[in-house]
Symmetry: D2
Subunit: 290 residues, 4 copies
Amino acid sequence: MENFRNVGLIGRPGSDEVVQTLRHAITFLQSRGCNIILDADIEQLLGRHGLQVGDRKILGESADLVVVVGGDGCLLGAARALSRYGTPVVGVNRGHLGFLTDIMPGELERQLGAILDGHYETEKRFLLDAEVRREQHPVGGGSALNDVVIRAGDSVHMVEFELWIEGRFVYNQRSDGLIIATPTGSTAYALSGGGPIMHPKLDAIVLVPMHPHALSSRPLVVDGNSEIKLVIRSGHNSPLVSCDGQAGVRAQAGDVIYVRKRAQKLTLLHPHDHDFYEACRSKLGWSSKP
Amino acid sequence: MENFRNVGLIGRPGSDEVVQTLRHAITFLQSRGCNIILDADIEQLLGRHGLQVGDRKILGESADLVVVVGGDGCLLGAARALSRYGTPVVGVNRGHLGFLTDIMPGELERQLGAILDGHYETEKRFLLDAEVRREQHPVGGGSALNDVVIRAGDSVHMVEFELWIEGRFVYNQRSDGLIIATPTGSTAYALSGGGPIMHPKLDAIVLVPMHPHALSSRPLVVDGNSEIKLVIRSGHNSPLVSCDGQAGVRAQAGDVIYVRKRAQKLTLLHPHDHDFYEACRSKLGWSSKP
Amino acid sequence: MENFRNVGLIGRPGSDEVVQTLRHAITFLQSRGCNIILDADIEQLLGRHGLQVGDRKILGESADLVVVVGGDGCLLGAARALSRYGTPVVGVNRGHLGFLTDIMPGELERQLGAILDGHYETEKRFLLDAEVRREQHPVGGGSALNDVVIRAGDSVHMVEFELWIEGRFVYNQRSDGLIIATPTGSTAYALSGGGPIMHPKLDAIVLVPMHPHALSSRPLVVDGNSEIKLVIRSGHNSPLVSCDGQAGVRAQAGDVIYVRKRAQKLTLLHPHDHDFYEACRSKLGWSSKP
Amino acid sequence: MENFRNVGLIGRPGSDEVVQTLRHAITFLQSRGCNIILDADIEQLLGRHGLQVGDRKILGESADLVVVVGGDGCLLGAARALSRYGTPVVGVNRGHLGFLTDIMPGELERQLGAILDGHYETEKRFLLDAEVRREQHPVGGGSALNDVVIRAGDSVHMVEFELWIEGRFVYNQRSDGLIIATPTGSTAYALSGGGPIMHPKLDAIVLVPMHPHALSSRPLVVDGNSEIKLVIRSGHNSPLVSCDGQAGVRAQAGDVIYVRKRAQKLTLLHPHDHDFYEACRSKLGWSSKP
């Protein structure tokens, strides 16, 4: 059995409820004899605490488990930082709509306790790496658990690009941009663009055109190991490449953007009663058994 | 019968083909005894010409007819400037996809000649006026023949707003923005967002949510005389209000945006064989009679 | 002020709750001195009652107001029967999703009482007439408050037809069929096919292709007075023309189907606090003011 | 190198062009020394021919390669019959839209010759098996290369069913039906219902709801090895379970429908220059490189 001795704690700043749940988690984890390492970003939220503090590198290297308190957005950030260390992550839901953060605050002791006792399911979620190259040289990039979005650099003009998958030309597209999403991201932004819901176990990537000029453009699902390449053709605005809705990199005409599965995956822990379809029913409003 | 004695000429800059068609139009119109007034924006494209030149105000006040050479985008600009004068406009197609510019260059003499002879159909197209108000005071606005688009001010955050129609609260929406389109605009940007095609004769406005967070948001069609009001709620970016894809006005949290039908309409002239559905078939790829 | 002396009562059979609300309505209407005429279809539901009974023709001719207890489906049937007499109709909601039946059973006395006192809003809703013609002769037809649907006669083959609007050829379509809906029907079946929501006041008809073979087919909104004509081209199955989801008429290759606005409209009464967008919010799950 | 000595020939009846291409193929294959086995269904199309004739069982057992002349529909039928024998299949396009039949008649000698010479790509495409069980006993079923469709048994009522995937309850749905498609079928009927395009190499199944009553229903992509189970709940019509658009089995309330990947796959041969995205571009009208 695994032994979660050193437990990292990450939280979404700016919410009293998050602070309250963090305090609750600290008390509980200490009662279970865990050594707590507090994320440096939330240290000041907690007043005097006497706990060990570390940045995400330290959390990744030292923690046996990281507990994230907040919404899916907060967990996305933790996942991008921690996936390289293989540290398991569990999410406590303190936002709206949580597909990733599936422990409810009221169930914290019971469900987190069960996980500490070794009763949990392990799920691997893959991330995407994006790289922007200019005249063969990398000029920026990032990682995403949900999606890499390439979109027009201002709100008025479209972006025009060639799409290549596994070295094959797919099409030339004029649109507001392209969403490239993992199964994890398929229930987030990609869904609002008409993309399908993909089961988290699926090894696939979906490409969802955003307001495409051509009526025949449709979401496209390809193998998760596919190399996706975009060649930016229009130059009069600076298309933005953003990962999980973060600020991102500005591209220009002629730039080539590569998107590929990242080697290291996120290890996500769930309580045993976790169910993806149950999350869909409650979060998307699907009807239940009558 | 009307008498098109003074004819204005507007063209899209940056294309040799447009210049060539403008020259062709000048020769033809002069052979028919028309007095030509050249739009000041294209004067220098034509070298020495000896023609009268005027800005769009002068064109609006003096011309009996304005011929626009270019694509739909060029005609949109002319429409916004000329609708207040009631000057009839006819479009010669030199771009891609033309729903508004329905004379083909090769048919210029025959079709423009027929119009000068009084053989044409007159169509009225309505425009929308947008006004942004801050603490009761107007801070900007514009007019649109196709659409008024309110969208998130940067590419990363959503915009959140309340929608009110005819004084009734409709919903609170989080999305990339909202497209408010006329029938004319229903075959343009609104179509790429899943909006319906509306026949040009319809007195209606369509509201198309852009990547709405809620799965239940759908395009909404309301009477063309409805007053549409948005109250911007999110403040951390500066949503952009743009008309027909022009640069636009930056709004902020608390601002109220009004969109209403403009009093003056565009007068569009068509050759007699003009057919909206024929334009749909050729431009959207609808199948023809077998 | 109108005087609703003779009040007709229609109900959806097969539900104890409907019977209970009917009894409640009878007691209340009698206490207000109304003369009740019971729809023949529900007479036996009520046991011994001593009330006047009549079919829908008698209801249409004699009643000053008809109260319909059930869901939207029940009101659709009443509307088709009563629109020719101009009898005002009000709906009491005893089904799921009610856009038409907007009195809740618990509010029956208050809201129905207000209507009897003359406090209500009158709304006119138009219907569609469908007519199937074979070699110039009518072979069947019907009326619809929601929609006329032409669809493939078996589940395996597509239907192929030409669409003409106001005498103009639109396109040749291969699909599972076509939904032709009024604004009233735009929140019903047409919505599930990707059609827009149309405000009830709009004088428009929407045509929604069902699983069209061509990716470029989109919902099309035309003026409410347009004559819509379909010419059936494929003959190996017998396409079904159905009104408001009723059984319908079988068509065959060469048949011509006309759909036009019906001359007589339905008169629908609403309590004063009725609001179409409120119905959308509660029934479609649109978000309310936070 | 493989040796395609015995070559089966299948064709779509009812077209002179198919007959012409079949004759062309016979002449060419004989010139290459192949032994031809003619599908019994097309024997009479060819007049006196002196060739060996066999049903699909004989083709499956004896042929080293089967050439199908027709459209995708014809190849679907051959695939369902031949997949159990593992016989490789190649398609010559004589219909509309061919994603499966990628040899053009004019290229028959060159491309079929190259395949006989061993220059080809081999692609495995999986099929779905559908089984309808009533009170634990099988009452019918079928196989599909494109899709299994469960839909309402008449055109007027919806079907209501529970969906279970891998033993997990997904949702209760009311709709016109459900399309369950392979990657091969994702460019066929499923696409017209809003499903994504899935690359043929993907090991996934897409479930596309048909006109779902709930606005939150979306296409769902799951692993290709998932067991999909539907429990039919509504009984007043007899929902139809059809495979690749064939006639199918009637289900009733309480029936359980299982859909799973079939053990044997179709072996499809392609010329070396075959490209899935090229097929998308030409058949769906995607824009090419400018």
